[in-house]
Symmetry: C2
Subunit: 293 residues, 2 copies
Amino acid sequence: MIAVDWGTSNFRAYRLDGEGAMVARRSSPQGILRVAGGNFEQALRAEIGDWLAAGETQVLLCGMIGSRQGWVETKYLPCPAGVADLTAALQPVPFPEARVLLVPGVMGSDSAGVPEVMRGEETAAMGILDACGGEALVCFPGTHSKWLQLSDRRICRFTTFMTGEMYSAVRNGTILGRMMAGDVSAAGAAFLAGVARAGQEGGLLHHLFGVRTLGLMGRLGEEDAASYLSGLLIGHEVRAAMQGQAVVHLVGTAALCGLYAHAVHACGGEAKIENEDAAALGLAAIGRRVHWI
Amino acid sequence: MIAVDWGTSNFRAYRLDGEGAMVARRSSPQGILRVAGGNFEQALRAEIGDWLAAGETQVLLCGMIGSRQGWVETKYLPCPAGVADLTAALQPVPFPEARVLLVPGVMGSDSAGVPEVMRGEETAAMGILDACGGEALVCFPGTHSKWLQLSDRRICRFTTFMTGEMYSAVRNGTILGRMMAGDVSAAGAAFLAGVARAGQEGGLLHHLFGVRTLGLMGRLGEEDAASYLSGLLIGHEVRAAMQGQAVVHLVGTAALCGLYAHAVHACGGEAKIENEDAAALGLAAIGRRVHWI
């Protein structure tokens, strides 16, 4: 089987054997927004045509490829959702050389009834069920960070935070960006100072102004300001999302998970960094339940 | 006397009679960032030369003109600061045709010891002391909103919120901007829905994502999205800044004060919109104490 995590910015494919073990992997920057003319059939062939020629006939896709901007738009599946629910809602995609199925995204709502949506993280969460025991708080840090509450091996609710996108918007679109040189470094003193600041009075809109005044007063160097801002935003996210829970399972790139793990620790929690290829594991778990013929 | 509120984006001048009453006023977009080559002497002459030629010899300036990017950099005066403190710290500026004095900015710190600075609002606050009784919470909404706590006719502390600048950064630098058509309208249902949302669980980084999902689900039209975002940000600011206080005195443009007044009411407070020319009144109050000769 071929498992594909096809997101906005990246294409990641995994070749799995009969037991779902990974025998090959590849990735490219052919995210859905970069596919010329929206010709996803041709793009998929270009990426994994050699594996298909070698005899693979089963392809399982997840991610933004199932969005309105993707290949075939799938309806969001409501929470709670587990492997069986996702498998039952797979959407066939016309493709000559192989059977192609698409995992739907999942929708929910927060405590105030405001809708939540995701495409991709639901599948990756299914990939770490054994690692986290099926009862866990799982965080996918990023542009739009997702926090999923798993219960009885299903996603029962989830929450999104625009942390990564706000970091970019603040850095590139406000006066604070002019106080910064260089990128966010590993979780050092400036990052942790930002995380701690997030727990103080005044709220984010006030805390952001401190990046400027601390810089003006010589208490925050321009080489530390990006890390402080990152800590401030991630600190606000982690404090709002943890809600007193002790253990946070992190899925993402090593660098980002490292920053979040430090923030979780600083907020009194425990962080466990899970397999970065959780999406491949989740697709394998779903694929095992599919009657492919 | 001539009173000048010289900010980053605007130049506002007032001609006052011996009692401090306004006899003429004018404004231009010659804020300090638009003064060619930093030639502030020439810029001032261009703006008010006719008043000087008519016999005025006393000029009092406040605002960002006293910043590092301005004419003469003045040291920040520490809190608490009142009319007498500001008058005692006036900074002379060399100018051939008249005596020119500059009101310093004020500095303080929040409950966590993070520094706060302002230039201009301290003077405007002195202009509404009689209107608010000298014991009041005063808000100057804007790019960097300032909330000043007055006690015994002095500024005892103040807090900044990057609300206006964040609105622009979110609108112009994130995916949310693509969900919006048109500008913020008067405080209507969408604005108030944003203000109410700010009081719910999850924090600002989460609430921002709701602008996207409510739009995706057809629950927030693109013509309402800017007002909702504005209400969300102003709601977060007002809730953090009011801290249970009942009356907020607002100084600013009529449109912005109108939005803030609605937000204050929605958060259980009472809003009083003060004279928009508070800076002129404050400069008059300081000018009366100066021994000009």
